[in-house]
Amino acid sequence: MTTTPPVQDWASDFDVLDPDYVADPFPIWDELRPRCPIPHTNRRVSSWLPLRYEDVTAIAHDIEHFSSRKIAVIPITGEEGVEPDPVLPYGLPPISSDPPLHTWTRRLLLPWFSHRRVESYEQMTRDLCNRLLDGFLAEGRADAAADYAQQIPVRVIAHILGVPPELSDTFTGWVRDVLEFADDPVRREEGSTGLINFFVAEVGRRKDEPGHDLLSELLHTEMDGELIDPAVVLGIASLVLIAGVDTTWSAIGSSLWHLATHDEDRKRMVSDPAVWPLAIEELLRAYSPVTMAREVTEDVVYAGCPMAAGDKVLMNFPAANRDPEIFEDADTVVLDRALNRHVAFGSGIHRCAGSNLARMELRVALEEWLRRVPEFHVAEGATVTWAGGQVRGPRSVPVVFR
């Protein structure tokens, strides 16, 4: 990973990859919010970082001035270019598009993740969690992030896409290269090439031998009497893998880290099933993993900030969710928080298409872990490590069971 000089002033020169920020961004946001609610930086590319709920949601709804055509939080200069990519001419719709492309590609995808459809993935998710737990239960210790959280979403997504689960580690590697190691041009390129080439081959195979998976069905779906362009299908499939893996694994990992370090909350979740629906939302709020970018379409002054065409706005959903104007005691996890309009899954037309799936996976992963490992804590002397940038979550949480 490229190293950048230390941050001197967070208001005018922030760096979302600063190691202290990645490990613990919350005090930095709290200090900035009253004096500079929309910090700026010229690192990588001129970018703004709204920290207040009101600003993040307002910008998310203003799709005229804030386009989704460039969504990378860690852009490589010149890479997100003006020329359309020859292999992915439509980008990764719907996430990297504005209406009208956004509207119809999103509609194609949503039924696959409707709450009814998601129920049908629940048993396989539960079985998967139990196989993982079987693997380390007797040892009395595990890495809650690497041995458990990281292993779950990728296999569920592989099932939905109809691609071999044996390749899960490879998929995970590609997704990490693209998101977690985005600042390293070599890894990023390797990851995206690996992933795209894989889907190009899978799309080719399914044109002749369709199955009952998302890839096959999209390839055989007609719009206005014509089959959908396979390049659109390629973009959607790649997006589902990229969006569905790191995000959910980070949410599961952060939640397990929280429970490993907060005995009262862990005990409450073990003993009080009624608190679960609120608790899941509260964990999503407090440890929201995902930040997405927007590109400013024309010079605009927003809340006194002179945003220029081409600037980025980093949609800090995680900071919005800790805004004390909106959430009482915002930096505390209150498992039964009843007022919780959190935007962990975004706000406006790009609301996470996989939110029903993500919630189910988070709930089932915690249910099975806590059922079989009701008592655990971070191993003495162990180091918990975090990844940040587009997706924030723990990469290693060594725990011992009691």
């Binding site: 949601t57 949503l110 409707s114 709450h115 629906p277 007022l339 899954f345 939110s355």
Partner: protein, 65 residues
Amino acid sequence: MRIRVDEEKCQGHARCYGFAPTLFDIDDFGLSRVVGDGTVPTELEGAARLAIANCPEFAIEELSD
């Protein structure tokens, strides 16, 4: 108590369904609608208020009639 979902505002977060699955019906595209004419049985009024207070899009409202 009677409630409605503003279809223009709803983005399918499904938080309302989480609180009161019998009051809301969500279609395959995530759009939420109230079941029937939106009349809330007395015992579900608490759940309905939570649904209103937790919607991230401010899409649910209580009708005053």
